[in-house]
Symmetry: C2
Subunit: 639 residues, 2 copies
Amino acid sequence: MQFYSDGYRPGDPDIRPAAPGREHAAELPAEVDVLIVGTGPAGLVLAAQLAEFPGITTRIVERRSGALEKGQADGVACRTVEMFNAFGLAERLLREAYWVNETSFWRPGATDRSSIVRSGRVQDVADGLSEYPHVIVNQARMQDFLLERMRNSPSRLVPDYGLEAVSVAMADSGEYPVTATLQRTTENGDDGGAPLMVKAKYVVGCDGARSAVRKSIGVELSGDARNHAWGVMDVLAVTDFPDIRLKAAIQSAGGGNILLIPREGGYLTRFYVDLGDLDPADRQARSRFTVDHIIQTAQNVLHPYTLDVKDVAWWSVYEVGQRVADRFDDVPAAERGSRSPRVFIAGDACHTHSAKAGQGMNVSMQDGFNLGWKLAAVLEGRSPASLLDTYTGERQAIAQELIDFDTRWSKTMSSKPKDPDAPDQDGVDPAEVERQFVEAGRFTAGFATDYPPNLITGIDTHEHLAKGFPVGERFYSAPVLRLADAKPLGLGHTAEADGRWRLYAFADAAAPTESGSRLAALCRHLESADSPIRRFTPQAADPDAVFDVRAVFQQHHRDLMLNEMPASLLPRKGPFGLVDYEKMFTPDPKSEDIFDARGIDRAQGALVLVRPDQYVAHVLPLDAYTELDEFLSGIFLPA
Amino acid sequence: MQFYSDGYRPGDPDIRPAAPGREHAAELPAEVDVLIVGTGPAGLVLAAQLAEFPGITTRIVERRSGALEKGQADGVACRTVEMFNAFGLAERLLREAYWVNETSFWRPGATDRSSIVRSGRVQDVADGLSEYPHVIVNQARMQDFLLERMRNSPSRLVPDYGLEAVSVAMADSGEYPVTATLQRTTENGDDGGAPLMVKAKYVVGCDGARSAVRKSIGVELSGDARNHAWGVMDVLAVTDFPDIRLKAAIQSAGGGNILLIPREGGYLTRFYVDLGDLDPADRQARSRFTVDHIIQTAQNVLHPYTLDVKDVAWWSVYEVGQRVADRFDDVPAAERGSRSPRVFIAGDACHTHSAKAGQGMNVSMQDGFNLGWKLAAVLEGRSPASLLDTYTGERQAIAQELIDFDTRWSKTMSSKPKDPDAPDQDGVDPAEVERQFVEAGRFTAGFATDYPPNLITGIDTHEHLAKGFPVGERFYSAPVLRLADAKPLGLGHTAEADGRWRLYAFADAAAPTESGSRLAALCRHLESADSPIRRFTPQAADPDAVFDVRAVFQQHHRDLMLNEMPASLLPRKGPFGLVDYEKMFTPDPKSEDIFDARGIDRAQGALVLVRPDQYVAHVLPLDAYTELDEFLSGIFLPA
Ligand SMILES: Cc1cc2nc3c(=O)[nH]c(=O)nc-3n(C[C@H](O)[C@H](O)[C@H](O)COP(=O)(O)OP(=O)(O)OC[C@H]3O[C@@H](n4cnc5c(N)ncnc54)[C@H](O)[C@@H]3O)c2cc1C
Ligand SMILES: Cc1cc2nc3c(=O)[nH]c(=O)nc-3n(C[C@H](O)[C@H](O)[C@H](O)COP(=O)(O)OP(=O)(O)OC[C@H]3O[C@@H](n4cnc5c(N)ncnc54)[C@H](O)[C@@H]3O)c2cc1C
């Protein structure tokens, strides 16, 4: 966390100075750069990202009259915690969330099949997947955190509540080619007055499963529309069920299945109760369920344990099929490449699926995170508009994987447990549930994403130089010491969600002061007239405004003198030309050496390029100047 | 962090529900329970503690017109971070603070004595002292955190700014025997109008070195009034000094000494520059120093390195002698025991010393923390007024140790470095400075406090049962798993600053389900009619309202079933009678076993009693029912 570079300022450093003139205007402007529709997880991550760029006019409209207060999703995958760290929100999230440390499995007893017994208990997230835990917190709180980040950003972005997007239409040309038609929503049944028209350079529909934006651009969901219903309730209850504070998957012999999720604060519990498939012809099917029905089912499943519900905080019958949109923007396959997209959809607007794997909020947020920096780069003139094509290319494939995974997983979870005395009957072996759960761990934690080569993801020719940073996967942080102040920290944790690319130069064995140092040579190259970094960085900007170059040395931190390090690793910044001392790192002597932990080639070193959304874009040899230049030239425009 | 026990509530759980009728009244009431004078670190810790008790009317007045914005102290000892954790503030403090990981030492070069060279570099806080780092953050920010905690507390306590305490006077009797005379301060030179009189049960003078409250109760400071001056400045500067981001003690041959403290945010630096003793007869001596003088001295000391100051955030000439008050309340030695105190002083009002060991803010906060829970216990009728006698008894001795330490340490720091070529001349060997620094580590980190036996600190007869928890010292947290949810956490970290006593029952080897379990027997005793806990806890209150009993088992967490644990470790609480699942712990298989780490007798177990301010009050065998009863009977009144 860096601050005060332009002078000391009293108060909370997380409340950054507002950009000049960027106090939020009450009226929606007639023209905006980006209009986001919907303040769910997808819309708010996107808005929080764009709020970092006060030069871009972003507005976010929401049909509801205010912020979400309760209900909906609650599972926060490790990957999402990593992203929250980049928004400066991880500490507070971890402080108040429930941590899913272990998951237990229950099934009908061998002798008395009417009573459930614990069949297994596993560590929820395998070691070595992430330095962060899998946590649970109300979706409303997750959204609060993002809203706060937006409010405290240089743009002071706040949502415009009570505005519903009715449709979007595209003009063939013009600076603001998309026109959104908005309607004021009212709580008292008024008609809300005349519609509002807003012109935008880009519109992003984060407007949920029934997305109006999706319909406007003619995108269809495909997949299994079969509606499976789950009763969901957040309750305060008294029970003698011993795993009430563990995530528990419970299969009873007769009464159905429960997924039990302990919640933040120590007392609240969420129950997912399987209510089976609903008849699609019967539109009233869902509304016939009551909370008592859900409670009753939960009580049956938990037998012989009791469940005395004292207070229901929220409940719902949540009904979904597994469906996915075939594209996430307004460019039909036939036109792809001939024009760049202007309207996008993200989150539930693109993919719907069960809540059983806890992916809804997480994948939606990653959609927003993927798109945000791309829009910023294009709008600020740093990258060509073709960068925006990668959004649908990357995220549609992820959504498809999610749907496929969820189809398998929710089938398993809804199946009856196999009766050992009736092996011919249908059912899943409870051991099989546990096995599938463990196998799915990487996916549910959010780490199965592996973007294939495209404009921003290189070919993995040099991946062997940094085996722990596979190209296309998220940059997995590891412990280091910061050279200047010997602070132990995660290398990835210092990367904020500020739209910048990070170049991690893992040094060769030579000290940077030695003449043979390949790392020192790279630094000289990056300082030279041939430097791609200089070419793509505006002259008036800080030297690290577009590319944040960081070095990790192999030496012990006490063996390197700060004032002997390459100049480009001590960049001068801000109005006073102060030195930024936070670019250099060494192994942390109290942790595993990062070169070992991430399989870095100690003789050659490695240059790891990381995208603003934390995915590894490329791995190159330290001296592959031409390849580096070529790769960056595809993504960046000369400043 | 526990919340929602009385129902789900949207928003930030750190903003706790206001107690009925406790929105802050604009007018100062004519009568209050506690009047705190001064919003420095001492006053604000005290206020934050009392704010937890909405049944107690607390007000805090401050002469200044608003919150402190800059300057003053910045060193935050590990012990203070531990205390901040109890106020729920550690995560945010650690996030934004500078971490003092290593300290370096510089002295004149052996060949060229006009140039400084690094003579050593040490880890700042030795391993095993605390799980928290030593950090640096502006005193104003530390106070902001406490102000926020007060504002978010059930009492919604906020300071009354612009009110100066002129004096306090004591009546012989009455429910509100102390009368404080307050004067409105004005920024424009008005006279502030007529004085205000406020009657209080207790008044605490946290009004700094020139304390008006101290003078009113006739307490004198004794010690060395000799005024030594330090120039202090917080600057943004460009330098080639390689340890600019390390805490550095620098002794030059000719130009004096500097203590350099890197500051939060990555750019700011504090310099302490020794300006020598001032002539006490010359009242103008201090005001003749300018910031240029301080900068010039710093530049001289740093030679051959350059220092180019770009911006001065704050500077001051800070002038102190080592002085301490002989008592911290209104009861003269001759009357001690015959009446209990009504007026207290805390912080700089009781002790002044140099800034060189970074103790001012920390020791002042500990004063406030020591007094807060005692006032609450007496005012709520849980403890006799004699409890308040322990405040001066405990804290005066600590202050005396601080003064003695500071006298030695600041002498060392102000001394010229010994010239190896002139061994007969005065001076300290730089190696000696480093040695003294390391030796002083326990003290400066805040862990030298060891309260001797008194009403609330037992005799250490049974200390061998829990060698890692010496009686009188602060309870040193260690890693455990929470049984119910397998969450890895610090055993001490779950203890909030809520005025409750904690009884940590470390189990004997038997599982609590075995008949021979001494721990289970203790639980039965504590549930029985003979239970001291029941005797001292109001019937209508939660069973853990006064004593928070926690158990640590030796078994692996997967070998214990929650529903088979002793009932008193699963207390039913709150309006819904919900079970509190956060009382039981087991060793964390991924950390050192707490029984080993803290030297617990595995055969016998141990009962460790911890005061609300986190100091170990007593260590007893699990079955020492009589001793437990006797000890608690001295401190508590039957409910
Ligand atoms: C009622 C409900 C219950 C759910 N329960 C669970 C659960 O128990 N467990 C689980 O894991 N997941 C649950 N989900 C799914 C999970 O919440 C979603 O996967 C996740 O919120 C997707 O995020 P999103 O931002 O794409 O969309 P959403 O969170 O749906 O956000 C869309 C936002 O857009 C607004 N909006 C919609 N249309 C318009 C418009 N035309 N103009 C302006 N604003 C508009 C909506 O009001 C909403 O705020 C639930 C979802 C819903 C809607
Ligand atoms: C100007 C200054 C500079 C300092 N610089 C450093 C430094 O560089 N490094 C360092 O380690 N320590 C420094 N200190 C010391 C450190 O700040 C103190 O040790 C610490 O603040 C003590 O806390 P306290 O709460 O006891 O008193 P203080 O922080 O002094 O707080 C006392 C408060 O009471 C108020 N007050 C005083 N009299 C009255 C009254 N009659 N009525 C109402 N309100 C009143 C004051 O305005 C103040 O807010 C400095 C102190 C001061 C005053």
